[in-house]
Symmetry: C2
Subunit: 323 residues, 2 copies
């Protein structure tokens, strides 16, 4: 983590001073902090295959810088005024500056890879994964936006969307670390699969915690998804299951139409309906399923269990922090 | 040119069909056409150093796709509703889709380079130039936007802005072609300098034609820059020269304040002032200067004059078409 902070500080420090409205928002966004989970995964992916973490530090930084690019642009699209308690770039500056500094952020992520100390063949391999992941993330964001105006989203479509929008970047971060370490293609694919399924489990966990956690534990307001009628795994499952239970379906449809003055009542009603439909345990078993698939990919990787322990410990810490 | 059209058609054809609102705007923008000057320069840069054009076709396509990315995002920022007689992406779809499909367009440009048939070391060298040019273009666009709200722009600042925003991409397009052909670093730098100075000459020519051409020849409405008080080379020079001629300065300041109902009068007054200040010949000699600097870079390149003729012919065609 210290390694990552230091590299990102150096990166921000080396940004040109002019034009300031292009480069200041990049340093600002990095300065908002965050758990740096993605670059950490790149370093862990590198160490898993017996290579020192510092060899992958520029790639880890590129992964975090890419993540920052997607935050800057997503915040415009989602009209999100606040991130980590501070104004988002398009609010602190304006939309045009957020578009253009986001673009420059993406190019800077590529530059970190291209200008790294890796041998050329490794740069190209990393870039192949990076390109694929970057397009997946764009596709996921597009599906997410499309879903807002589409009343008929299947569970499968939802899972595909969160896979693209958030899970593949976790897989890709690990895979790029593995490539730096010279892992065999099959192992690099397995660690990607591990991260992708882990990402799905985390996202479903997040959907669940939004409803069933407490504010203190969750770190953000519980019930936010319910208040905004967000089509999460839980709501989509509820709508599906309620088709066979008319009395629940009616209550659910009525609750979804409640105006925002009744938000607290709405959260309570929908939470109760979720309980009645057995959604907490259904979601938990789905989450467990993805954790199991992830673990099975990790098990197949041809390195010692001792090395795998570092990754499993990191995941345990993440889960402990989240739940 | 056929080679380029074919490659771009293949590229558009291979775009995924879903999510359509992410990928359709990319094919749409490429379908708007254009002179394909930039990819042509990449092919010419490659041939100049004795390598068949088709070896550089993916890089040429990447250059054009990058150019399209910048058009999609610039049109949002400049609120330009029409391009080549058709609605721009943010108008035909919406701003969010234009942001995100622009992002995907940029990633696809990188993918064309990374997935090309070039040896790895050449890909890395091309990417180094591509990254630098991409950041320059972002910087140029940012300076251009900053200038709108800044009343004190120097000629030097203006020249720096057009160099970054439009000229370096011409230089970079040629340089990337040269890299594909395995040109020596010094020659690759010289062809870059050639293209950059040529780009400056073309942009200044464009400023001049906006005032002194006829509608038929210019292809767009003459006087557009004057009507919008755009800080072009001519206006900035006029403001500077008028400082020593109070009677002209007063007329110029008054004309700049004329409301849009008086646009035709405004164009005539300012054009007359430009003539009175001798700006047509001043601009022409500035354009000639950049053409001469460009030519001098080309002369220093260590290939036969015969090979250089192809590039010079292409430039002559461009000039003939523009003036």
């Amino acid at each position: 983590m210290d390694l990552i902070s230091k590299r990102l500080e150096g990166f921000a420090h080396d940004l040109p001073s002019e034009p300031s409205s292009l480069y200041d928002p990049i340093a600002y966004t990095l300065g908002l902090g965050g758990k740096r989970v993605r670059p950490m995964l790149t370093l862990l992916g590198c160490e898993l295959f017996g290579c020192p973490a510092n060899q992958a530090i520029d790639i880890a930084a590129a992964v975090e810088v890419f993540h920052n690019f997607s935050l800057i642009h997503d915040d415009i699209m989602d009209q999100a005024p606040i991130r980590r308690g501070r104004p988002t770039v398009y609010k602190a500056w304006n939309t045009n500056i957020a578009i253009l500094s986001g673009d420059a952020t993406l190019v800077k992520a590529y530059q970190l890879i291209v200008n790294s100390q890796l041998p050329e063949f490794a740069k190209v391999k990393v870039l192949e994964v990076f390109n694929r992941v970057a397009l997946d993330v764009c596709e996921g964001q597009q599906f997410d936006m499309d879903f807002e105006s589409n009343s008929e989203i299947s569970i499968a479509q939802y899972l595909k969307m969160i896979e693209l929008k958030t899970a593949v970047l976790l897989g890709g971060a690990l895979q790029m670390g593995a490539i730096v370490a010279g892992a065999a293609d099959k192992d690099a694919q397995l660690i990607y699969d591990f991260g992708r399924n882990l990402g799905l489990a985390f996202q479903l966990q997040d959907d669940l915690l939004d409803v069933f956690s407490t504010n203190e534990k969750f770190g953000k307001q519980v019930g936010g998804d319910i208040k905004s009628n967000k089509k999460t795994f839980l709501l989509l499952q509820a709508l599906t299951l309620a088709k066979k239970r008319p009395e629940i379906d009616q209550k659910l449809q009525q609750a979804l139409l409640l105006p925002s003055e009744n938000n607290e009542v709405k959260v309570q009603i929908i939470k109760d309906l979720y309980v009645e439909l057995g959604l907490e345990s259904l979601a938990k078993s789905e989450i467990d399923k993805y954790f199991r698939i992830a673990t099975s990919s990790l098990e197949q990787i041809t390195v010692s269990d001792e090395k795998k322990q570092f990754i499993l410990q990191f995941i345990d810490q993440l889960i402990a922090r989240e739940t």
